[in-house]
Amino acid sequence: RIHEVRVRGGNKKFRAMRLDTGTFSWGSEAISRKARVVAVVYNASNNELVRTNTLVKGAIVQIDATPFRQWYENHYAQILGKKKRLSEEEAAESPANKQRSRHLQRTVAARKGNVEQALDEQFVSGRLYAIISSRPGQSGRCDGYILEGKELDFYVRKIRSKK
């Protein structure tokens, strides 16, 4: 649900009241995908906002990992989330080894994908940590980027110390 507000100068602001999806970017791979927002996990300003699942800029959320996993497996022909491979050998094979033309096969083989350990583990559970970088109360959108590297370590530590 998004309300339109008339503001100074006759312009519009879009006040988001309820949102369930947003476009999130995977910085190191330089792609963005529309993903479902699952839950708010950490807010540096106020714990109340975590309990009530309020989406604000700078809030850490968990998003659905499937769009990113699908892109990765199509692009690099490698499987993410090592543990899953043991259980679903047959099903997981198809996106990684689907029918490709010879030209495509060569370009795919030339690409090397490596994901850091902490991110790989998140793919196992199907949920990624991301931070919201848009302002949902102003633009009506919930966009952000996936946490990686030092930021990811920082926030994971904060979340763990809370529990």
Binding site: G27, S28, A44, S45, G58, E148, G149, E151, F154, K158
Partner: protein, 152 residues
């Protein structure tokens, strides 16, 4: 590592930390503020994160450039400056002393700022309720008769 003292992750907006190819070890963004002011070495080499710093943060210096004497440095990253001036009374054709205090943001690039030092401040956008200026140059107080060389 020690600059992460707040509850959210402190980083420079302009720097992307997670690029796959590590270009250089210290990925730091800084700028030249213009008007002939030199950006201090500490701003380029240091590791602090300050979004209100004129050299490594998101503020621009424009408008007035003033100077004054530092009165207190007790606030976190901001100082109070005292500007003295003489006001002319036409009836008596004499002057009287007046002063105004000014709150200015002090970047961590300037180390060793104490009460009594001379400081040049530049106008920027409002950073808080009373702070509209940012320290851009710092000259230590010259102790008369001391044999030590003070940088002017």
């Amino acid at each position: 590592m020690s600059e992460q003292t707040e509850r959210s992750f402190q980083k420079q907006e302009a720097v992307f930390l997670n690029a796959k190819s590590v270009s250089k070890k210290n990925n730091r963004w800084y700028k030249d503020i213009g008007l002939g002011f030199k950006t201090p070495a500490e701003a380029i080499e240091g590791t602090y994160i300050d979004k209100k710093c004129p050299f490594t943060g998101n503020v621009s210096i424009r408008g007035r450039i003033l100077s004054g004497v530092v009165v207190s440095t007790k606030m976190k990253r901001t100082i109070i400056i005292r500007r003295d001036y003489l006001h002319f009374i036409p009836k008596y054709q004499r002057y009287e002393k007046r002063h105004k205090n000014l709150a200015a943001h002090l970047s961590p690039a300037f180390i060793g700022v104490e009460a009594g030092d001379n400081v040049t401040v530049g106008q920027c956008r409002p950073l808080s309720k009373t702070v509209r200026f940012n320290v851009i140059k710092h000259q230590k107080k010259v102790v008369k008769g001391s044999k030590q060389f003070q940088k002017f």
